[in-house]
Amino acid sequence: MENSINCFQFKSHLSDFLSHSADPKILETLHAHLEQCKPCHTHHHHHQTILSLLENQPTSTLPKSLREAPFSAVLPRMTSMPFSVSRWQKIPWYLRVLLECGLIVTGVITLVSSTPKLRELYENHIEKNLKTLEDPTIAFEDLSLQEKEVTQAPENLTQEPMDSGSESTELNGEDESTSSNSNLSGSQLWRFTLKTVSPDELRAEILKVLNKFSPPIKTAGALGVQVPGGIEFNFLLPTDQINDLKKQLHELTQNTAIHQQSIPSGAGSDAFTWYRVHSKKKLPTGKAQVIIWISQPHAGG
């Protein structure tokens, strides 16, 4: 060994030097290098500090209980991460995979099978809410309606009472009850369409008309619901009063000042239209569903 060594050679012997196990022959050269080289001296000092910290760390002793009975002593409870292998982990992996897959499949099947039932429950809930909106005393079974296009309003309305045999000829609106849907049940849907430039004013007039009926119609739908495109009244009325209503609505659109001022010239014939269809809805006997629709005439007239 030469008398002087470089930093690389010093570092290669540093481990032995620190653990006092270096060869006595090279120990002198290592000391000589330390005195000459400042960076190596600093490194050596740092390493010695680290080793002294490690050496001075207090040594833990085995607890007495564990020493006396290593397998039966009560160990502290580890809630977060127990080292002891859980029962689940002891199960062979193929069984665990099978069980996990089975649970996942069961979960998916349960979810899929319960979805329609949940949907049905949800729809029933919505239907109930609708019923209370229309008439709390009446239970509707089917909300689907068969509607036909609105036809032009009649010029003259007769004052004769409603008669199932003659109404389609008496009223000049389109009447489906005696034609294609004659085989359907007796539920009727009457739809009256009124056009005005000021639907809100006409709504007030219609409310006055509806209040005249006895008993007065007090369901939520009979107050008129503001919907996109207009105002809709939806209520049940005894069939023998429908003609009265029709007449009054017609008069309202023809004779009132509101109509005369609001409907543009040339659009008078569209101001009041009506039609009647049979409905699948089951209604109480002697009653018909009435929808009054107030909307504004189109800009083109």
Binding site: L18, H46, S60, T61, L62, P63, L66, S72, L75, F83
Partner: protein, 168 residues
């Protein structure tokens, strides 16, 4: 009563294991606590190690290298447990430590830096410098050539030096 019976059975049936506990119990427990950083975890891991020794005692022979054999089981178990359950310092904790500019304060928290080392290197430093084992014995324990161990030892010290004095 049950405790007495258990104690009796332990002392009669497991006499070699009992002598191991008496001889190396403190060393094993200290290694467990120093690497896992929790007395509670150390107790559980100590029992796991003892069970492993108990099962391997019948199948393996160690002749005169009894301590190396026991510590080999201890080290391999601790490495495994540390990898699965070992607590590591959080990023926030590390940032807090690194933001400290005073070297003396850093040295006060030396063991927080020590925890950042790989568990094999932690065991190496503990065995070599805390418990004073020779490199040749540690080579048997960690099943690594002696030369590699010396390099690892040197590297670990350099890493710790860099972490502790890197602001300078």
């Amino acid at each position: 009563m049950i405790k007495k019976v258990l104690k009796k059975s332990w002392s009669v049936l497991d006499s070699p294991l009992h002598s191991y506990v008496e001889q190396y119990g403190d060393l094993i427990f200290d290694l467990c606590e120093s690497t896992l950083w929790s007395p509670a975890q150390a107790q559980i891991s100590f029992r796991i190690i003892l069970k492993k020794i108990h099962t391997q005692i019948l199948t393996q022979s160690f002749s005169k290298y009894e301590r190396a054999w026991i510590l080999r089981i201890t080290a391999s178990t601790l490495i495994e447990l540390h990898r699965e359950h070992g607590e590591r310092s959080s990023a926030q904790e590390q940032l807090q430590l690194d933001s400290e500019s005073d070297i003396q304060k850093r040295l006060k928290h030396f063991f927080h830096y020590f925890r950042r080392l790989a568990v094999e290197n932690q065991i190496l430093l503990l065995l070599k410098n805390k418990h004073g084992l020779s490199f040749s014995e540690i080579a048997m324990i960690l099943e690594t050539p002696e030369g590699s161990l010396k390099v690892k030892h040197q590297q670990s010290l350099s890493i710790l030096e860099e972490w502790l004095w890197k602001t300078q």
